[in-house]
């Protein structure tokens, strides 16, 4: 559902991000994950493992973790029925109001940089209560003061039907919470090695933050073991190259070949 995300810089960083995202999913009854989202997909499967099987997870692109049988519309209808509690979205640009741009930069339609397109964002952002924004690249070119094109608005005027929206933004460098009433992000933690000043410099939009902000906690050893073990094997069905590169899981001669090109 997002513009192409950069590969996780390292296995350690990926495990940290998966742990952060999984904690944001706690308590959700049904989590869906869009196409091309290996880190969110792994996080959803981890959250399911930690829920003792109470959580339902739908991973688009998976055969094993996707029970839909009614075609491409079913995800959207299912969300409209209120049967999906949490989802992930990203964007080529994300602004301080949590507006998402999946279309392009510059002036539409002859944009300077063209992204793939809006996918289902303009709909699912309204439908799914807990939308977690995930974009590994944390830079002023991605996190902008104002997006050039609103694929999906972060907030809506009174009177516009809306059940869902953003709750958090997770990047490769930090975690923000989104305050829907104030329409602003607040920095909640910085990943190991990052500083508040560094995050301010790398972020194109204004956001709220305390003088000091906690460090994103490292995953507990048992969580890391789950990700590097059974959960990693589960995501390998959908993202074999990803699972092999980061967790050394599910490698076959075929996948080694495709990884060599990635």
């Amino acid at each position: 559902m997002s513009a192409r995300s950069l590969p996780a810089a390292s296995s350690e960083r990926a495990v940290l991000l998966i742990d952060v995202l999984a904690r944001l999913l706690a308590g959700a009854g049904h989590v869906a994950v869009g196409a091309l989202s290996p880190i969110p997909g792994t996080a959803a499967l981890l959250a399911r493992a930690l829920s003792g099987g109470a959580m339902r997870v739908t991973v688009l692109g998976s055969s094993r973790h996707n029970a839909f049988t009614d075609g491409g519309r079913e995800l959207f209808d299912c969300a409209a029925q209120g049967r999906i509690d949490a989802f992930f979205l990203g964007g080529g640009q994300i602004d301080g109001g949590a507006n998402l741009n999946l279309v392009g930069t510059g002036s539409y339609p002859r944009v300077a940089t063209r992204f793939p397109g809006s996918f289902g964002s303009a709909y699912l952002y309204f439908m799914i209560p807990r939308v977690i924004l995930f974009r590994e690249e944390h830079s002023p070119r991605v996190l902008v003061p104002k997006v050039d094109f609103i694929s999906a608005p972060g907030a809506s005027e009174a009177g516009v039907w809306r059940r869902g929206g953003p709750v958090a933004l997770v990047t490769g460098r930090a975690v923000f919470a989104f305050d829907r009433a104030r329409r602003r992000f607040r920095l909640t933690s910085v990943h190991p090695g990052e500083t508040v000043a560094g995050i301010v410099a790398a972020t194109g939009f204004d956001f709220d933050h305390a003088e000091t902000v906690p460090e994103t906690p490292a995953p507990a050893p048992e969580i890391a073991a789950l990700i590097n073990g059974p959960v990693g094997r589960e995501i390998a069905e959908t993202y074999p190259g990803f699972a092999r590169r980061l967790f050394g899981i599910g490698a076959t001669a075929e996948e080694n070949k495709s990884e060599a090109r990635a």
Binding site: R4, T69, G72, R73, F76, R110, P116, Y123, V160, W161
Partner: protein, 276 residues
Amino acid sequence: MATGDSGPMIDLDALAARIEDGCRLAIPPDYSGVAMAATRALIARRARNLDLICCPTSGLQADLLIGADCLRMIETAAVSLGEFGPAPRFVKAVRDGAIAIRDATCPAIHAGLQAAEKGVPFLPLRGIIGSDLLAHRDDWRLIDNPYEPGDKLVAVPAIAPDVALFHAPLGDRHGNLWIGRRRELVVMAHAAKATLATVEAVFDGDLLADERWAAGVLPALYVTAVAHAPRGAWPLALSGQYAADADHLDAYRRAARDDDGFARYLARHVAPRVAA
């Protein structure tokens, strides 16, 4: 549909010839069974001025049709080569203004097809309000909920393509197609005026005769013509049958970055059909 005495089975070039210049062509997403062999035949016959409706997204198929100058317009929720990155010909054509684009969102395309399925002029949708998609789509309208005035919805018009084109795992000689859980193909066929399909394999028998198959069948009622095309989705995947050809897609991604590389790709993989 009338198919003549020979039944619905025709050859690949005859199938491609049924897709006339200037028509509105509906295609499925990459995961659903893409008629790539037929697309190469369509490019080889130098199709022009097609309006492409991606239902609701596309990848290599749209990129090839754009690069080969077959399209006048594309309506889509996204075009990308997936894990292989941006679709190079799509990106270039949109940036250059060489092709008209109607940016959509997946459920709006599904709803437009469903409206055509039901024979109604539009369907209303939640969401979308406040998106710039709506600002740029003069065919999408804000309407009042007739049961609750003041409650706004977005009306999207029916999408009734001239032709739906896809690749199915199995078809019988009557024109019944087994599509399994890929039911977006059913919606496309219901909405389209004509449905052309290639099939991976031909089933000698009646797919509707066995209850275990029947629920996953698009009946011949909706199917205009079928061509047998083994590995007809290559280099894309056919669910349950074969994976995408990653080597080929990666080579395409690199070749299609510039005009010369794309022309060489076409000459190698598409043009030979002209001489054949």
